[in-house]
Amino acid sequence: MSRVSIDFVYLFAGACFVLALRWMSAPTTARRGIWVGEVGMAAAVVATLLKTEVVSYQWIAVALVIGATIGALMAIFMPMTAMPQRIALSHAFGALAAALVGTAEFYLDTPHIRPFKMAVLGAEVLLGFLTFTGSLMAFGKLQELIPTRPVVFRGQNVVNLSILAAAVGIVVFLVPHPSSKELFPILAVLALVFGVELILPIGGADMPTVISILNSYAGLSGAALGFVLDNKVLIIAGALDGSSGFLLSVIMCRAMNRSFTNVLFGAFGQVQTGGPAVIEERPVRSGSPEEAAMILDAARSVIIVPGYGLAVAQAQHKARELADALGARGVDVKFAIHPVAGRMPGHMNVLLAEAEVPYDQIYDMDSINPEFPHSDVALVVGANDVTNPAARTNKGSPIYGMPILNVDQAQTVMVVKRSMNPGFAGIENELYYNEKTMMLFGDGKGMLTQLVNELSNARV
């Protein structure tokens, strides 16, 4: 196949990718988006295999078979609760591929590498390797193979910044001196170490942001690889991936009222170490499943607010059963999702969809908040900080300014919770002491099951 026709196939693939993302804007067209993306990808791969440079196919065949098998097995068997882990792994694979190709290009072309190419190659390898180990670390934290709490030590930022500065220094030196082969492995090692160091001080609650940032890095390293190989479709795909990751991390940061630098360089847990020592015993109203079921039965509108705790308790299906039971009694049921519910952007929506909650029953924060004042019951299951009114009112609170779901504006608030222990961030939740709030102590799945049973008994 001629070079020009291959370039046209790549252009076609790039257009397919843009269209694929365009169709992701609605659930009704999204699957069409996958299809057009697959068509673009298949065309690009076939055209590449027909390139004149590609002369031997045995290793390609082996790698394609192994890769396709692993990819398919992961796609079929990975549980939906493990989606963040899978995404973290795929960032790692994508970044590794980019970094390895960049490395090979360096050794093949040195010492004759033009300055611009060397600069993007250096940036690409640096980003690729740091995203590789960074994503593996994120995977480890999400899978709880390594401690999810922030690991911090004195002078950490100084150490990290020196590692990064050294790596950048090597890239800068290599631009006019691409023959200094011996520096390249040092660059790779520094980047690998920096990736580990970057994620070490970040706590589990920040994972949605971190995954989005790593997504952005993986995209950028892909785009840089496109410059190295002078391949436009790589630049397009990398730019789309990079901007998507960047946009999502901005959304996540905004939803947590944090800045990028704050996520990356400030461990969240440290803020309130002095705080909660003096908590006076305040009365809370605790309710039984029977009472709760009665109130729910009499309600006209109920908003269920699920958090990641719901998924941990594997109670998504029970939540859907409760919604169905209430729906059958003429109660209007909605689900309200905070942007950072779950461990990655949009995670909670996927978990509810898996439990067969229809997506037009699921509302995001901005569209549901005006509805709380008109609703009879807000039922909070496994969510904590994102419902804390202190974020609106208490300037001293570490989460002050964070946008929250205004559950306290509902007529009655029910909170399903194991105990009064403060949540992940260790912050007291004012909501639990509100006189409108009824605490339902118990495990999420068990409590929802009881509520469903109570409701069906009431009908008999």
């Binding site: 440079e53 998507s244 952007p345 995670h347 067969e356």
Partner: protein, 111 residues
């Protein structure tokens, strides 16, 4: 006449802006499938890896190329498949077919 580098920069900048505009319209409902789809798409690095693995430019290139092909194929195949698996679960009210019946009957017995 533009150099290759300049054309590349044009493409990069325009594609980034296009990306922002397109992705801004994706509702938060679909953010997880979005991320998994962009992952699959950025597996296009596969085309670079294929050339490296198949062009007989020495052992190093073949080894690194083969590893890179494996890694990107995992992303491409796995990414498209799992995105589809997720999106198949997103249903509107009423689209949810036969599951209604058993949960209804389960209410009656026991008592």
């Amino acid at each position: 006449m533009l150099t290759r580098v300049e054309i590349g920069l044009y493409v990069f900048v325009l594609a980034t802006f296009l990306g922002f505009e397109v992705i801004r319209r994706v509702p938060s409902l679909l953010h997880t499938p979005l991320m998994s789809l962009t992952n699959a798409i950025s597996g296009i690095a596969l085309v670079g890896s294929l050339v490296l693995a198949g062009s007989n430019r020495g052992t190093l290139a073949t080894v690194l190329g083969t590893l890179a092909v494996t890694a990107s194929t995992i992303n491409v195949v796995g990414g498209f498949m799992i995105t589809d698996r997720m999106l198949r679960m997103f249903k509107r009210r009423g689209e949810r077919a036969p599951r209604e019946a058993p949960s209804d009957t389960s209410r009656e017995p026991a008592q």
